[in-house]
Each structure stands twice: as C-alpha cells, then as structure tokens.
Amino acid sequence: MRPADTPPAKAVGGDPHPPVLWDPVVRLTHWTIAVAIVVNYALTEDGGTTHVWVGYLALAILVLRLVWGFVGPAEARFAAFPPAPRAALAHLADLAAGRPGRYRSHNPAGALMAYALWAMLAVVIATGILMTAGGPGDEALMRAAVERDDWSILTGATPWVGDAAAEVLEEVHEVAANLLLLLAALHIAGVAVESRAMRTNLVRAMLPWRR
C-alpha cells in the first residue's frame, strides 16, 4: 500500500502533481530542440549549409510543439501553464521557503521559462531565415539572382535585406543565440533545484525512451 501523502501514480483526481511521464510529442520536441541548439551553437559552421538545415529542423519542431500546445493532452496545452509572472514570483518565493506547490503541468516559473525559451528560439530562427534569404536550399535563388545580373547575393549581402539591415540581423541572431544558451542553463538549474525541493527527479518524466 502507498502511504497517503504520496500522490497517486496516475492523475485520478486528488492533489495535482506534474506528469509522471510527459507525452511523446513533448519529449521528442524537447530533446530535438535541445540537441539542435547545442549542435548549432558548438558544432556547425556559422551560416554553413548544415547550420541552416538544423535551423529549419528546429523551426519545424518548434511549430509542432506550438500546434501541440493547442491540440495536445491537457498537461501539454498552453491553457495548463499560462504565462503568469506574478504566480512565477510567488512560486519562487515558495521554493526559497522550501515548500514549493505542486502543479499538474509546468510550475509557473517553469512555464515562464518555457515561453522565454520558445520566444528566444523564434527570434534566433526568424533572424536566421532572413539572413539566408529563405529556403534551406537557396542555390536556385542564387542562380536566378545571378541571371538577373544581381551579384550582390554572392558578395554576402542578402537579396531580402540591405547591407545595414543584414548586419543588424546578424547581431540580433548572435545575441539571441547567446541569451538562448543562458536561458537553457537557467532552465537546467531550475529543474535541478525543483527536483531537490520536490524530492522527485523531474528529468525522469522527460526521458525519451520511457513508455
């Protein structure tokens, strides 16, 4: 028999608690984006073909997660973890006092982190797309531009934006990428602190191979 104060393994009413295991879409999108961030930050050549392809992969996966936020199971929906800065602060205060509340989805601080990560990722992806002038395989575009006697594409300027704008885009892309990495580090620290406080290993619920 299970002691009365531990939550039941599956949510059948009673006290809320975070999912024992996130659904497969949440887990797949989580780890794909994590790997894409690390790969594009550390491994691929900036602006190289692989870098651009990985960026588009991240976009597709981000889109899937956002769609899932509307049609997925209850705990994966945005409605289950609305952005609420005041609740997030209250949660952090509870956490500091050593009595964090339990929520059936992300806690308010974790939810805010998820939105911040997604927003920052969106900025990185959007600036990346604008810099590469659309399309992961833009060789045809390049050829077409050259045929139009527009050689600017080969000299580094992109056909969608002017030189000055391209520099701003690059700057924003880099700053946002660094912020994204900083947020990811904070996210990991948050999971560690929260896991300690809740005496529950929260990473287990996100492991990709569990059923």
């Binding site: 497969p24 797949l28 999108t29 794909t32 597709a60 996966i61 769609v67 059923r211």
Partner: protein, 180 residues
C-alpha cells in the same frame, strides 16, 4: 505472473504517430519555406499556386495528425485508468465477499494467496504452516464459498466482474469514441 496491460500495438501507436507527425512537420516547414520563396519571386503563376496549396495541405496534415495522436494517447490513458479502477474494484468485491462468507482471518489470508495463484506448498512456506493445514483451510474456504475447487473459486470473481459490466478496455474506448 504477466501483468495485464493494453495490447502491445496500442502501446506502440503513440510513438509511431509521434514520429510520423514530426516527419510531417519537417516536410511541411521545408516545403512551405520553398513555396514562400517561390511565391515572393514569382507570385500567382500556376506552379506557385499549386505549391502554396500543397504547403497548406501539409500543414493541415500536421494538425490532423496531432489531433489523431492526442486521441490515441487518450485511449491508452483511458484503458490504463479503467484497468486501475477494475483492479481496485475487484479487491473491494473480493474483501466484501470474504467477510460475507465469514472467513476466519487465517482462512482470509489463505484465500487471498490462493486467488493470487500461489499453490499449497507456496502458501504453506509463506505462512510457515504445514501443507496439510493449508489444505484444510482451503477446503473450508471452498465449502463456505460453495465451490468445488480453486478454479471455480477464482472463476466466481471473474464472473462477478464480467457480469457487473466493469468496462472491458476495448469496449470502453469504443463507447467513448461514439460519444465524442
């Protein structure tokens, strides 16, 4: 003993559907990016219009695939919940029945172990009593229950479960699908 679980195919389906939906999302985004570039370069030609249409169709495919996946996940959860409820309900029914038959505490223990599929030797070892004692206790349990032996004894409760119409997993999700 093997645990009762939803069928393997049903348990594999979410992982398969997740892979498919992710692949669809990839295809949709790559195609949409390509189509968007073409639309900007040469708007309103038949080719770009068809590309735009394909991109939309792919996008719709992602959303519908995701909705299907959610449905598959919920069916699986419903089955697990029904199974958990049935387990809880069964032990309640069994305990009530044992009280009704006025089994002694020792007989109750032995009866539970017998229901769980342990044989006389195992029960005797577990309870630290002689096999003869366990056999006698079981005989009294069967007599009080009005059954001829262990198979009938176990069948009593299975029958009870079926007759009371605790939803069988497949039937349950068929019913919930009809409601939806």
């Amino acid at each position: 003993m093997a645990a009762l679980k939803p069928p393997a195919a049903e348990r594999r389906r979410p992982a398969l559907l997740t892979g498919l939906v992710a692949a669809q999302a990839l295809a949709a985004v790559f195609f949409a990016a390509d189509a968007a570039t073409d639309l900007l370069n040469a708007p309103w030609t038949p080719h770009t219009l068809i590309e735009a249409f394909v991109a939309l169709a792919l996008g719709a495919g992602v959303v519908i695939g995701a909705v299907e996946l959610r449905a598959a996940l919920e069916r699986l959860r419903a089955q697990e919940t029904a199974l958990a409820a049935a387990r809880g309900a069964l032990s309640t029914v069994v305990a009530a029945q044992f009280r009704d038959w006025a089994l002694t505490p020792a007989e109750t223990d032995v009866a539970w172990l017998a229901l769980k599929g342990l044989d006389v030797a195992e029960i005797a070892a577990l309870r630290g009593s002689a096999q003869g004692t366990v056999r006698a206790q079981l005989a009294r349990v069967y007599a009080k229950a009005g059954v001829s032996g262990r198979a009938q004894f176990a069948a009593l409760f299975v029958e009870e479960l079926l007759a009371q119409g605790v939803p069988e997993a497949d039937g349950a999700h068929e019913a919930s699908r009809r409601q939806a």
